[in-house]
Symmetry: C2
Subunit: 416 residues, 2 copies
């Protein structure tokens, strides 16, 4: 495949009229030389477009896209007890299938090429994700009340290890839902199979305070005392951290998946990204589930992250556009070990964005990252994962049928 | 004009298959009856679409759209002194023309049908806005250092009073840039001609603190002591208010234009909307200029307002979707005296939004406002102002030429 005359980003600057050659699942060449042919005959004219390497959604629960708008503006406990948990108790694999496909549609439209998930029915999630063509790091959510899920964690890894798109991970839910035994089992499994660990960590103030009251140490200190924390861990949220917690997270090389919109919508708080960053922690961005966001869009997440951090610290000069752009791209590539970027040899996971939109005007070689972070309002034209075109010209084949089926499945779920 | 089979919003619920008849600049009928003809022969098939009354951008500086991405992530004073003011010093009416048209494009794409502005070269702004077909409340920015602008405030009102789209207003910049004489003159002019007043009020902490230190009263108390505050005033920002300020604003019927994104990006703070609301103040939403946002999109503004208020007050149940939706619509209609809404007799200012998008799925009759506030990511298909179609099927005639000219104008401005 040949992508002709795209603009690309190099060190935050725009470089125009570049040709990107893709063979199989990888980029083979990026060059300013004019080329007219591609080996397989497929040519995409990208003049007037910006090619970006794929954005990575570092924390979500994708099947919950089926719950979008089902319950909003509620206190956390009634929201969970009266709305989310009763619906989750009725979930079947068909709900998961259509919820995941619906979520994939939205991410494809937003230039997200890979996501990290923790939820139920992960084989169904993996299968639906593969059918949609996205890349994913998937873990069944593990907690003590569902021993069946814990039992299946290792077989799940074995079933999916080596897949071209799905990477199995291990996902103990949180310190307050998993016993020491479960956490240690998850850690051992991850080490044995050399896969990543995905956990919710210190999301709400009350959760952290009650853990400290009960156990005499913070969730971070506790996990560290178990030897759980390492650079194979992606910890979602990390909203309420002590200075000691931050130093532990930094020392162990834990990656943080910051979920700015979800944390604000659920009134969980503003994470101390400034302190995490000063300590050298690798920060990525996640949307969380669409039940608490309610979008799956990292452009929104980048802007919200930047402005909420500036405001929280009364410092308009911190968390600049390039820094936040890296959270959605390079930092996540490092966290997940993704060989990704616009360079020869990298995975061909990328998006083409139409620059002929008001929100990209005026455009200079220097302000493009500012526009991506602060101004972009859609306009992703083409999304490619592993060399396969998932959307082109804003068209995802089969989208309408998926929307219809997801709608039916939701109605079936609530009526069940 | 006949808009066929649209869904509409009534009291926050979706009502499907409604036909909207427009004659001249007004809606003449909304009815579920099937109609096939329109008097002028123009029919828009809106099946699968939601008709909303136009969103109102209650505070912006539209020509500054030309400065988008020119300077970000800076402290306020160097940002103004090193970047914004030097550029503003060079502005010509041609810059304003193309900056305004660029801003209009973006607002048309976001379903905004009317905006309230305060800036330089307001005749040029008015003319460019009329050429784009949007409705606007326009005031030249008045401050003591530009007596020419103060002199022209009344002639400007006389030139534009009675126009079908442009409504002149009076815009004294702020208490720290306008003398008592200027403020009183602005107030007298507004009363004499029965037009609105538009002012920046208590945007930053340092501005309020230094005013209190110098004058012994808050900016709100001071304006009230002049008799300036009334229900003809739209006060932008109102970020730093004392309980006494809030009570004055409520008693005088002042309308507040809240600018959540700009306030956060410039690290000005989170406005006390909860207290304003408890006091019964009418709250609208503004984008502020694209130099500090950097978008002109009220969908973003609604989401950011809701989640930042929830988070600031640790209350996920406050500032629900319907309340915030009203800020961008009904509250603004009341503030500006706009006869607007989806009902017979109202001005035909409306947008059609394509519901066949992932972010509107699943859709129920009850969750539509949640989707508009928390999930919508574009998809405005058609924008109509005063019965005139400005965008249809996502196409704005002449858009590409405007983008090209705005780009050239920006390059000319910075090189000048």
């Amino acid at each position: 495949m040949l992508i002709r005359e795209a603009s690309i980003l190099i060190d935050g600057r725009l470089l125009r009229d570049m040709n990107i050659t893709i063979e199989g699942s990888r980029i083979t060449e990026i060059s300013p030389d004019i080329r007219d042919e591609s080996r397989d005959g497929e040519v995409i004219d990208a003049s007037g477009m910006l090619a970006i390497p794929g954005l990575i959604n570092a924390h979500t629960h994708l099947a919950m896209t089926l719950f979008r708008g089902y319950a909003d503006d509620m206190e956390l406990i009634p929201w969970l007890e009266e709305k989310i948990w009763p619906l989750e108790a009725k979930l079947t694999s068909r709900d998961i299938h259509w919820g995941v496909k619906l979520g994939c549609l939205e991410m494809i439209r937003a230039g997200i090429t890979c996501y990290s998930d923790m939820y139920y029915f992960m084989d169904e999630t993996a299968q639906a994700t593969k059918e949609m063509g996205l890349r994913a790091f998937l873990s069944a959510v593990l907690f003590d009340m569902r021993p069946d899920l814990i039992e299946d964690a290792e077989p799940f890894i074995k079933r999916w290890k080596g897949d071209d798109l799905v990477v199995p991970t291990v996902g103990p839910h949180a310190v307050y839902t998993c016993s020491e035994e479960t956490l240690l089992k998850a850690m051992d499994l991850a080490e044995k199979h050399n896969v990543m660990l995905h956990i919710h960590l210190s999301e709400t103030r009350s959760e952290v305070e009650s853990f400290v009251n009960n156990c005499g140490q913070s969730p971070v200190e506790y996990l560290d005392s178990l030897g759980f924390l390492s650079n194979r861990v992606v910890a979602a949220h990390c909203t309420w951290l002590s200075p000691k917690d931050i130093s532990i997270i930094a020392d162990r090389g834990v990656h943080v998946a910051h979920c700015s919109i979800s944390n604000q919508k659920l009134a969980s708080g503003i994470a101390p990204l400034d302190q995490l960053q000063k300590a050298g922690v690798n920060i990525c961005l996640g949307t969380d589930g669409a039940s608490s966001n309610n979008s799956l869009n990292l452009f929104q997440e980048m802007k919200t992250t930047a402005i909420s951090q500036k405001c929280a610290h009364s410092r308009p000069d911190i968390f600049g556009a390039i820094e936040v752009w890296k959270m959605a791209t390079e930092n996540a590539y490092a966290a997940f070990g993704l060989d990704l970027g616009l360079r020869a040899g990298a995975l061909a996971d990328l998006a083409l964005i139409d620059l002929k939109k008001p929100w990209f005007c005026p455009l200079t070689n220097e302000n493009i990252v500012s526009h991506l972070v602060y101004s972009a309002q859609g306009g992703v034209d083409t999304t490619i994962v592993g060399g396969k075109v998932l959307m082109r010209g804003g068209v995802i084949p089969g989208e309408e049928a998926i929307l219809d089926r997801a709608q039916e499945q939701f109605q079936d779920l609530v009526a069940r």
